[in-house]
Structure formats: C-alpha cells, structure tokens
Symmetry: C2
Subunit: 218 residues, 2 copies
Amino acid sequence: MSGPQRTGRRPGNPDTRGAVLAAARHRFAQDGYEGATIRAIAAEAGVDPALVHHYFGTKQALFRAAAAFPADPGQLASVLAEGTRTERVTAFVRFFFHVWEDDAGRQQLLSVLRSAMTHEDAAALLRTFVARELLGPIAEVLEVEDPHNRLPLAAAQMVGVAMLRYIVRVEPLASAPTEELVTRLVPVLELHLFGPDALGVEASEAVGATSRPSPSGA
Amino acid sequence: MSGPQRTGRRPGNPDTRGAVLAAARHRFAQDGYEGATIRAIAAEAGVDPALVHHYFGTKQALFRAAAAFPADPGQLASVLAEGTRTERVTAFVRFFFHVWEDDAGRQQLLSVLRSAMTHEDAAALLRTFVARELLGPIAEVLEVEDPHNRLPLAAAQMVGVAMLRYIVRVEPLASAPTEELVTRLVPVLELHLFGPDALGVEASEAVGATSRPSPSGA
DNA sequence: CACGGAACTCAACGAGCGTAGAGTTACTGA
DNA sequence: TCAGTAACTCTACGCTCGTTGAGTTCCGTG
C-alpha cells in the first residue's frame, strides 16, 4: 500500500517522542519487558526502530521512562485525609480501581507488574516504590498500628485482585462492577488494618498448631 | 576444562529426560515462558539443545509437560475434610504454604504464574485449572455459601501473598515464618468465606456511595 | 537567506533464538 | 551375536533481536 517511508525530519511539530512513549507503555504492558521488542514499539508508533534508540538510548532506559508510576502519591494522600475510618478505606479502594480502570493507568501498572515477574530491575523498582512511596504514607495517614506487618498483607489482597481481574481474568472477578468489589473488599481491608491483632495468646491456642508463630518481627 | 562432549548414547541408564524436565521447570520458573530458552534449559541439564527437541518436540510442548500443577487436588480435599471451620481454613492455608515452600512445588507454580503474565496459553491453563480443579472442590468441601462470588476474592488474597512473598519479595512478607502468616491470614479468609454478606442493605448505606453496587452476579 | 542542529530513516552488524537432519554411540531383544 | 532402535551430539538453517553509524530532511536562529 504505502511506499517506503519518507526519510528525514517530518513537517510540522508532531509529538513523536510522546507517541513512542505511548507505544512503549502499551507494548510493555501487553508483553512484559522481554516480550516487548523495540521493533514492535517503533512499528506501533509508526517510526523507525533507530529513532527509539535516538530518543531513549537503551531498552532499559526506555522502560524506565515508560514505567513511571501512574498515580500521584500526593493525590492518594488527599483522598485518604478525611472522613470516618470506613469512609477512608472505601476511598482508598475506590482510588485503587479508579487508577486500574483507567486505560493509561492500567497499562503503566501492567508494565511494571508484568515486567516485575521476570525482570529483577522491575521487581526492585516496584519493591522500593511500593514500600517507600505508597505503604509508608498510607500507614501514616490511616493511623494503622503495627503497619509494618499489617499493610503488606492488605497490599497482597489488592495485588491479588488486580492479578485475577486484569491479567488472569478469572470470572466473576474480571467482569464484576467495581462498586461490588469495593463493597466486598472494604470489610476485609478493615480487618487487615484495624482488626484485633491475630498474633495474641488466643490465636496460638485456637488451633492445634504444630509450630508456634514467631512472637513479633525478626 | 572439559573437552567437547562425547557423542552418542551415554552408558548406563541415566534419567536424562527427567533432568531436562527438572531444568525446564527451573528455567521457566525463573524466567517465564519467553525468557527461558531451550539452550539454557539444555545447558542446565548438561545436554545438547537438540535433545530437548528430540524428547518434547516444541517449546510449547515442553512447557506443557513442565508446568503440570504440583499439588494433587485430592490431597487438598482430604486436608479440608475434618475439623471445625477454623481448623479447616487453617489446614488450607498451611497446605498452601506447604506447596509454596517446597522447592519443586514453588518452581512449578512460578512457571505457571510467571508465564501466565505474558502468555495467553498459560493464563488460560491457569484460569481453567483454578476454576475447575481448585475452587470448585474447595467450595464443596468447605460448604461456602455463594462460592461463586466469595472464593475468587479469597483466592486473590492468597495469590497476592504469593506474588509479594515469592516474586516481588516485599519485606516483611518475604521472610516472615509461614506460621505467622497462617495466623494472620486465617481470620481474613474466614471473613471472606463465611462472613456476613457485604452486599446487604446496610453495606450500601454505610458509606455515601455515589454509584450503587449491583444487586447480584450478572 | 544561510547554516547548525535536531528529527528521522536506511542498511547492516553480531548475537542469540527455535528447530531440523544427519551422524555416532549404547542398550535391548531375538 | 547381531540387527534394530532409542539416546545423544554436531552442524547449520532462517529468523529476530538490540544497537550502530551514516545519510537525509526540516525547524529555529542570526
């Protein structure tokens, strides 16, 4: 159909760099770090692969530019600032789905999550970001006791929901309306964050445990 | 150090096929489907890449052979058969960690999980297996009401724990003793499985929801 | 209007990939 | 003892990958 691409700079001032970045987000989100190819990204942006290299240098650098976290932690903090405890937890879960249901946000999150599965760089990025920029501030604003132990398990609940809803697509999670999930998740998160500490005396004797739970953090 | 490999059949009756399979599990678990290479698998098994092809044909077939589910669902059912409700939930969580902490089991699970992230084949395999062979039987044995809606969210909790503990390695989840996690998770799972239905009248008015939860499954 | 530099493509490199077929060795059963 | 067959390696094919350097076109400034 179309002949060979015209060479040289294009007329006008198209945001080609932005197009490449968008394509990169899309491909990384779809295929993960190793699965996505510079050639495919370039093709999706309607551009020569060499141009990608011209802008970003290496594939690594392109990934780092594409996989920036989609949500502003500050925005999150303001969402959590007011209301009763239940209202704030509800606001948090809504915020979570708000980001995930947004096309651009989902793609960036998928980028990181998919790539973190096999690429240690991405895993480290995710690990430190989640710990420093997300869990820390959340713990402060929500006034959680023993956040070091409680928040990761609450985070695990949400990560699992994201996995099953957006990646593995298990029904009925995949097509449930978000508000239904919010309603179901809020009590669980409240238990995680504010419930009675499961590591009391009563817990260790409630079930005939063969090995005792460790008294507290290592 | 060592010269070129001696050609032809090896003396004795070594289980080379098994070695290849073990190496495949290891590499798939480590690198995911696209990241793992037949050459790396062969090298880890101390074998020529062509031999892998000789035994298994294509990379697809090798993956299918390597990624069989590590736990016997029947074994799981028997674990869940007896005791009080709390005891059975506890037994389930212990079983979960038992499989994940075992080297071979973890590698097979990681194979499927890592590959499901980017490879639709693996995702479909995981989806149908989880639905048919795991959640179904568990729902029956545990006598959960409304299992269609409740179980996936409980599964999401466990999947998330696996993600953060074994893949992303978020502390303190990554190095907490399993019994501590069991103690913390059991109450949450009980809430998921047997707690009051969050989708009652009181839930929808507890928080000033802007959009109403859907009345039931589609 | 000239000219420097940014934007962009072309062609090609070296390496690694999955796969294939032919050749070599050892076990197995008649 | 002697095929026949299964186990195993060598060599190599066609392909795609990330990256590079040189060449072409256009914008912005004087």
